[in-house]
């Protein structure tokens, strides 16, 4: 049992929803199992080390294709997925490594997929933007912005029809929130009381475009009123806050009360992407802004807190990081040694009930 206090997020003015949430957090007691705290830290480190490594090997030319680093945003996916079971579903977007790893996806399979090898999640056919592992509810990342939101909504519809008690969560960006797909899905989920959690990762930019120039409201969560569902803006650098908001949403969802929109206020520490789209750095974000946000590293914030509360020792935390670092190193070795698919594989996996190749 720990009392968690949260430093004020920087750079974002706050809506009533954020204020309420943050008041609730300040001084409130938090019951989080030590094992879960460890797991959250572990997964944040998995993602961090994974992404650092990906940047390294990508710039060394070990594979091509786009990749969108999740560094700085780890608390969002990890907080949400910590509130989910293996039998729950997630779907994601182009910033695609954090979500599956947060859901417990295998690191080797993920890395091998980026390398385009047969041992990848998708046998090398999907690549960075299309990681998926259906066996643990990872319904897949999507390169088309906003496009997986209806899909996740549909998984929740199945739960409703069959009376199953799984929920589904979908990750999308501040930019994506302007897609019609989001509007339609939130309305559907609300009128049908579907067990779906809409997780907007508001990292404040869509490539180079500030959300202030593209989203008409101050917070994406403000849009929840348009669908008559709860909307909450959460400090996305605080994995505990993300977890708690998600637990509330999951409870609502599982008990048939319908969807929730959670906005995680966060920041990407790196550039929009590797490879795809030659994004010129600099002009659209100030160095100060970047530095200010880098001081709010979600892993550091969490570590400082759990250590100062005596929940985990510093050594514990370092060990976890090191274990995950090694796991990522092994994954790279695994990926490098995994073979490319055979040419005969080209037309495989097109159909569940195959037809002759035209």
């Amino acid at each position: 049992m720990a009392i968690i206090s949260v430093p004020a997020p920087c750079g974002l003015s706050r809506t009533a929803a954020v204020r309420d949430r943050r008041q609730a957090e300040r001084g409130a007691e938090v019951n989080i199992d030590k094992e879960l705290l460890r797991l959250m830290l572990r997964r944040m480190w998995t993602i961090r080390h994974f992404e650092v490594k990906v940047i390294e090997v990508h710039s060394a030319g070990e594979f091509t294709g786009g990749a969108h680093p999740y560094i700085g945003e780890e608390a969002v996916a990890v907080g949400v997925c910590a509130a989910l079971e293996d039998t729950d579903y997630i779907a994601g977007n182009h910033r695609s490594h954090g979500h599956p790893l947060a859901k417990g996806g295998d690191v080797k399979g993920a890395m091998a997929e980026l390398y385009g090898r047969v041992d990848g999640y998708c046998k090398g056919k999907g690549g960075s933007m299309h990681l998926a592992d259906f066996s643990i509810g990872i319904l897949g990342e999507s390169g088309i912005v906003g496009s997986s939101v209806p899909v996740a909504t549909g998984a929740a519809l199945a739960a409703k029809i069959r009376g199953d008690d799984f929920v589904s969560a979908v990750f999308f960006g501040d930019g994506a929130s302007n897609q019609g797909a989001c509007h339609e899905s939130m309305n559907l989920a609300s009128i049908w009381d579907l067990p779906v959690i809409f997780v907007c990762e508001n990292n404040q930019y869509a490539v180079t475009t500030s959300y202030k120039d593209s989203v008409a409201v101050e917070h994406v969560a403000d849009r929840a009123v348009a669908y008559n569902m709860p909307g909450v803006s959460v400090d996305g650098q605080d994995v505990i806050a993300m977890y708690e908001a998600s637990m509330e949403a999951v409870k609502r969802a599982r008990s048939g009360q319908g969807p929730t929109l959670i906005e995680g206020l966060t920041y990407r520490f790196d550039e929009h992407s590797l490879g795809l789209g030659r994004v010129r750095r600099g002009a659209y974000r100030s160095e100060e802004e970047i530095e200010k946000w880098k001081k709010r590293d979600p892993i550091e914030i969490f570590t400082r807190r759990v250590v100062s509360l005596g929940e985990l020792s510093e050594a514990d935390c370092e060990a976890i990081s090191e274990e995950e670092r090694l796991k990522v190193e092994e994954a790279v070795e695994f990926a490098r040694n995994s073979p490319y698919p055979e040419p005969s594989e080209l037309h495989e996996d097109m159909w569940a009930n195959p037809i002759a190749v035209p």
């Binding site: 579903y89 779907a91 990848g120 999640y121 998708c122 046998k123 090398g124 056919k125 999907g126 299309h130 998926a132 592992d133 259906f134 319904l139 897949g140 999507s142 390169g143 088309i144 496009s147 997986s148 939101v149 209806p150 899909v151 996740a152 909504t153 549909g154 998984a155 929740a156 519809l157 199945a158 739960a159 409703k160 029809i161 069959r162 799984f166 589904s168 019609g180 797909a181 339609e184 899905s185 309305n187 559907l188 009128i191 495989e348 996996d349 097109m350 159909w351 569940a352 009930n353 037809i355 002759a356 035209p358």
Partner: protein
């Protein structure tokens, strides 16, 4: 065997499959009250959970069907071809691509029933015959039935198939009648129907144009011309062998297609035969497809757009010149 109306055959297929398999459900706009006619009596028998009226959000509910299919349901979605543009992203980026890009993990047993309104003054916005566009995109099975028996049997097959299928239901056939075999009869995908054997010219016709081709063949008997009429029934998979075999026999080919002529299904079939059946051909292939204009509202112009029996007769004659 019973004489059945095309729309009723669709209704029967849905009811039989919903009875057979609890994971089948149906969604669409105003289907509970069967506004477009094919979903009568479903609500009463299967209840609100399996017969879902949707808001006007095609992209949203096309995608919701995909998501439901991924986790074990077998959704049927009712729509019109002309509303598919609104939901195109879900059809292409998700339904068509998902299985392959996830390395075969996804199973998407989802059926889109897309009615093609045309020919009755429904004008440019409500007259799309868009299956050729979907044929260009891998990953979707494309069904184009031309009779009550076929629409029933093919729709049933589509519902049981584990891949995304679009069943293009030709609205000009909605009131047409035909024998439908009793019992649980499926029609296999990728098996063309040779409706009429002939020696002089092969006519491949699609959906609503099949009966025109049959009438044309009938008319040509008087001129001593014997026409073989083939209905591919499914465009993906396409039974090209039956077509090639027929052309080998007749040496002549007319492709009839209610879709716009450029990059049409007729173009595709013509190009296959020009490559793989070239040495059988004794005359130019003739396409009879819709004029490359939007569908004009006025009946004075609309009737000029589509294939007709007369145009087919003319085309066959052309191959025999």
């Amino acid at each position: 065997m019973a004489q059945t109306i095309f729309g009723e055959a669709i209704n029967q297929a849905i009811i039989e499959e919903m009875r057979r398999d609890e994971s089948v459900f149906i969604m669409g706009e105003d289907i509970r009250r069967s506004v477009y006619g094919a979903t009568a009596n479903l609500l009463e028998e299967f209840g609100e959970k399996r017969v879902i009226d949707t808001p006007l959000s095609e992209n949203g509910f096309f995608g919701a069907a995909i998501g439901a299919s991924l986790v074990g349901m077998r959704p049927i979605v009712e729509t019109l071809t002309s509303f598919m543009w609104v939901g195109m992203d879900q059809l292409i980026s998700q339904a068509a691509k998902m299985r392959y890009m996830f390395g075969g993990q996804a199973r998407l047993p989802v059926v889109y029933r897309a009615t093609m309104f045309y020919g009755g003054g429904s004008a440019a916005h409500h007259s799309d015959r868009s299956y050729p566009m979907f044929m260009n995109m891998p990953g979707l099975k494309i069904i184009v039935p031309s009779s009550p028996a076929d629409v029933k049997g093919l729709l049933k097959t589509a519902i049981r198939d584990d891949d995304p299928c679009i069943v293009f239901e030709d609205g000009t056939l909605a009131g047409s009648r035909g024998e439908v075999p009793d019992g649980d009869r499926l029609v296999e995908f990728g098996k063309a129907n040779v409706l009429r054997q002939g020696e002089d010219c092969t006519v491949v016709a699609i959906a609503g144009s099949v009966s025109m081709a049959m009438n044309a063949a009938e008319e040509l008997v008087a001129e001593g011309v014997s026409v073989e009429v083939i209905d591919p029934r499914t465009m993906v998979p396409l039974d090209k062998q039956t077509i090639l075999d027929s052309v080998e026999k007749t040496g002549r080919l007319v492709c009839v297609d209610p879709a716009h002529k450029v990059c049409s299904a007729a173009s595709e079939i013509a190009s296959i035969v020009a490559q793989e059946g070239f040495w059988s051909l004794q005359a130019p292939v003739v396409k009879v497809a819709s004029e490359q204009v939007h569908i004009p509202y006025t009946p004075a112009l609309e009737k000029l757009v589509y294939p007709t029996k007369d145009k087919i007769v003319e085309a066959v004659r052309e191959t025999l010149d």
